[in-house]
């Protein structure tokens, strides 16, 4: 049986990795993800976890070693943040194109410059199109759960894609929370051993990472994108099986008190926790306000999103990153997804919480008020920034 315990979320993530019986971990220190690999290194040093921990000399090498390890058939994990992910960037698309189911826990951090070790989503948004499956956790429990799910789904031979589990730097990583830690037997039931489609092994030699001239490159890319879309079915099975064993339910797009809501707030990541408080408060006052949380970021759940916002008049989207020169990342996906709808809500875009700045309850409250106002008269600017001086 699971037991409920209070621990730092980074350590809960490390517990999930250990329970997944991970075989190789290659990681490089960077705030705020560091407690995850530190705890894993400790587990390996103590003999709690029979794995190889490679303390590489850069994140580029961390992801490269993960590619080698996964290609050699080992269950592979790494963790990073912000600039670390940027240094991995080059290798990220190779990992997904070679269909290597590495799991990466990403403690979201802002990008330099100015240097900021604090949280926002500019790191993951910069690599969103790298072909990895990407999910967002909002708290410690979800981080723990989604890491187990990530191994199961990514390694499924029908999927065979790497997975990023996002959890906000500091706002989630460094918080001590009560978390249900599953026991080994439960995890073993949920997560079968890794049986890859192809492995680097002298007994059956394969060539991996070949070179693709124009006559074949397009076909490889089309096949890859098709496979990523197809993976959604296995992801749902992964959620269903998770609920059966652990009793906690997940979906691509999740709602909170959204039934009959005229105004919907939409967030991604740990914002959801504060947003839920606001929704409770407004619902108590009798206002028809609900919340939509994006769990799955890639492949983007367009159809599920359309269903989730159907019937709403105003949709207020809060992004934790900017896309310089255009719309913020989440709102642009949302607008694209809703464009084919005949009847769609008016969309208002906010950006907030950059570089670790808090977005408080009052600010969420302001956002709803202001959002309704802007929806009626039309938002002229691409987005409004919350709490900016």
């Amino acid at each position: 049986m699971s037991h409920r315990t209070g621990l730092e979320v980074s350590h809960a993530a490390a517990e999930a990795v250990k329970l997944a019986r991970v075989e190789v971990v290659a990681a490089y220190p960077i705030t705020p993800n560091t407690h995850v690999p530190e705890r894993i290194a400790e587990m390996v040093a103590n003999g709690e976890l029979d794995a190889e921990f490679i303390p590489v000399e850069s994140e580029h090498s961390a992801m490269s070693a993960c590619v080698g390890s996964s290609a050699a058939g080992a269950r592979t994990f790494t963790a990073t943040s912000g600039q670390g992910l940027e240094l991995m960037h080059e290798v990220m698309s190779v990992a997904s194109s070679m269909r290597l189911p590495i799991v990466l826990s990403l403690a979201n951090r802002a990008l330099s410059s100015p240097l900021s070790v604090w949280g926002d989503h500019s790191d993951v948004m910069a690599i969103r199109d790298c072909g990895w499956i990407q999910v967002f956790a909002e708290n410690g429990q979800q981080t723990f759960d989604l890491l187990l799910w990530a191994f199961r789904v990514g390694e499924d031979p029908r999927v065979s894609f790497p997975v990023i589990v996002n959890f906000d730097g500091f706002h989630v990583t460094h918080v001590i929370e009560p978390v249900f830690i599953a026991d080994q037997a439960e995890v073993d039931r949920y997560l079968p051993p890794f049986k890859p489609n192809a492995v680097l092994d002298p007994r059956r030699p394969v060539t991996m990472g070949a070179y693709g001239p124009p006559f074949i490159y397009s076909e490889t890319k089309k096949a890859q994108d098709f496979a990523l879309h197809q993976a959604k079915e296995v992801m749902l099975q992964g959620f269903a099986e998770f609920e059966k064993i652990f009793g906690r339910k997940y979906n691509f797009v999740e709602t909170y008190k959204a039934e009959g809501a005229k105004v919907l707030l939409m967030v991604i990541g740990s914002f959801a926790e504060t947003a839920m408080d606001l929704v409770d408060k407004l619902r108590e006052k009798g206002e028809a306000v609900g919340l939509v949380r994006i769990r799955l970021w890639r492949p983007f759940p367009q159809e599920e999103l359309r269903q989730a916002v159907r019937g709403a008049e105003t949709l207020i989207v809060l992004d934790r990153a900017m896309c310089f020169g255009t719309l913020a990342p989440v709102v642009s996906e949302v607008k694209a997804a809703l464009y084919p709808e005949e009847k769609r809500p008016r969309i208002v875009s906010f950006v907030g919480g950059l570089g670790g700045r808090d977005v408080r309850l009052e600010e969420f409250e302001y956002m709803v008020k202001r959002g309704i106002e802007l929806a009626q008269k039309g938002q002229e600017e691409a987005y409004e920034t919350i709490g900016i001086r």
Binding site: E23, V24, A26, D50, A51, E52, I54, P55, V56, E57, S58, H60, S61, A62, S64, A65, C66, V67, G68, S69, S70, A71, A72, G73, A74, T76, E90, V91, V94, M98, V199, L200, D201, P202, R204, P205, V206, T207, M208, G209, A210, Y211, G212, P213, I216, T220
Partner: protein
């Protein structure tokens, strides 16, 4: 063993793990070296290949020349990739998921992938002590992208990014000594080799693979396309490189230097340079400069061999002794002497705006006077 040359080839593994039909240039010294290396290693190997000529000529989808498990990821990370492979094999064997026993882990890259963009990942993997062999196939420039300079390009060579011109000799810097950098990691085995000496190359690769821990082999890969010489003299070019001392063959076993071939008299380096279009623009005095540098490096290498192998250092022949060696022998460093002279020069010149050439002359006089 007077018929050794007939007998020796029979000892070579007849198995070809690098299939013919690849797209290498005619006269390529690198594919030859790869073929020999794979003969030496046999089928029990996993290879990680850096981006370069090699994956382009050998792995065009949906074909492959590799009969061994082979992975290409990126330009700069072959060492990190093989680190992951090695770690995975270790834990999988421990958990009983693969049969026990050693599989050679091989990483390979060109000189750019090794001495420039991939130096960090190579250094990391060497330092962490993974059980792997790294082979650098050094053709002395970025040949795959069209002959751009690398840090391994020799002084004076013409490349597309260091072309000779009115203001330039071409490559202005000296070739980076990768084998010495590898040896500085205190790894058990480092060697240099060349495909013009196939038995030596195979013996070294084998030895390197069998060593427990990291090993590094630096192979001079003659490149007619980039060096601009006839395609039928690849083997001769490699031999000239070795016999002129511009690319000496040696091993560093547990820190002990050992020359593979010692020559009582080196061939003039001109013989090697003259055959190549990339050195065509060099004047005689520039070739002499290269000759001096080769002599200096050769002596340095000989002294390393002497230091490790014998109690007494190998005596330095007077006619080729450089200024630095002379100063060192006399117990004063050339650098210290220059600094002293400079100091005295500045004192007498008295002004900071004096042109640089004049105080040097003065300083000589002053120092002479001082000695009196």
């Amino acid at each position: 063993m007077e018929k050794f040359s007939i007998y020796a080839p029979r000892l070579v593994n007849p198995e070809e793990n690098f299939a013919p039909g690849h797209r290498a240039c005619i006269g390529c010294g690198e594919v030859l070296a790869v073929r020999y290396a794979l003969k030496a290693l046999g089928p029990n190997v996993i290879a990680a290949n850096a981006t370069g000529c090699m994956e382009i000529i050998s792995s065009c989808l949906p074909t492959t020349s590799w009969k061994i498990p082979w992975i290409h990821v990126l330009f700069e990370n072959a060492s990190a990739v093989i680190s992951g492979v090695e770690a995975a094999r270790k834990v999988l064997a421990r958990r009983g998921k693969i049969p026990p026993g050693r599989v050679f882990c091989l990483a390979m890259g060109g000189d750019g992938a090794t001495s420039d963009i991939g130096l960090q990942s190579l250094s990391g993997a060497l330092e962490r002590g993974h059980d792997f062999l790294y082979i650098c196939f050094d053709n002395e420039a970025y040949m795959n992208t069209g002959v751009q300079r690398s840090s391994s390009t020799p002084y004076g060579a013409s490349t597309t990014t260091a072309p000779p011109g009115k203001l330039s000799i071409g490559q202005w810097s000296q070739k980076k000594n990768m084998a010495a950098i590898a040896a500085a990691h205190n790894i058990p085995y480092v060697a240099t080799a060349c495909s013009s000496y196939p038995f030596d190359l195979m013996a070294k690769v084998k030895k390197a693979a069998e060593v427990k821990g990291p090993a590094y082999v630096h192979v001079l890969s003659v490149c007619p396309t980039g060096w601009r010489h006839a395609t039928d003299i690849t083997i001769q070019m490699g031999r000239l490189a070795v016999e002129s001392g511009i690319f000496p063959l040696y091993e560093v076993e547990n820190g002990r230097y050992k020359l593979t071939f010692d020559f009582p008299k080196l061939r003039p380096v001109k013989q090697y340079l003259k055959l190549q279009g990339r050195f065509r623009h060099l004047k005689d005095e520039e070739m002499d400069k290269i000759q001096k540098q080769v002599d200096k490096e050769w002596l340095k290498l000989k002294s390393l061999v002497g230091m490790a192998g014998e109690k007494k250092p190998v005596p330095v022949p007077a006619q080729v002794e450089g200024r630095a060696q002379r100063a060192e022998r006399k117990g004063q460093s050339a650098k210290g002497k220059a600094q002293r002279a400079k100091r005295q020069g500045l004192k007498t010149s008295g002004t900071k705006t004096t042109p640089t050439r004049r105080p040097r002359k003065k300083s000589k006089k002053v120092s002479r006077r001082g000695k009196k």
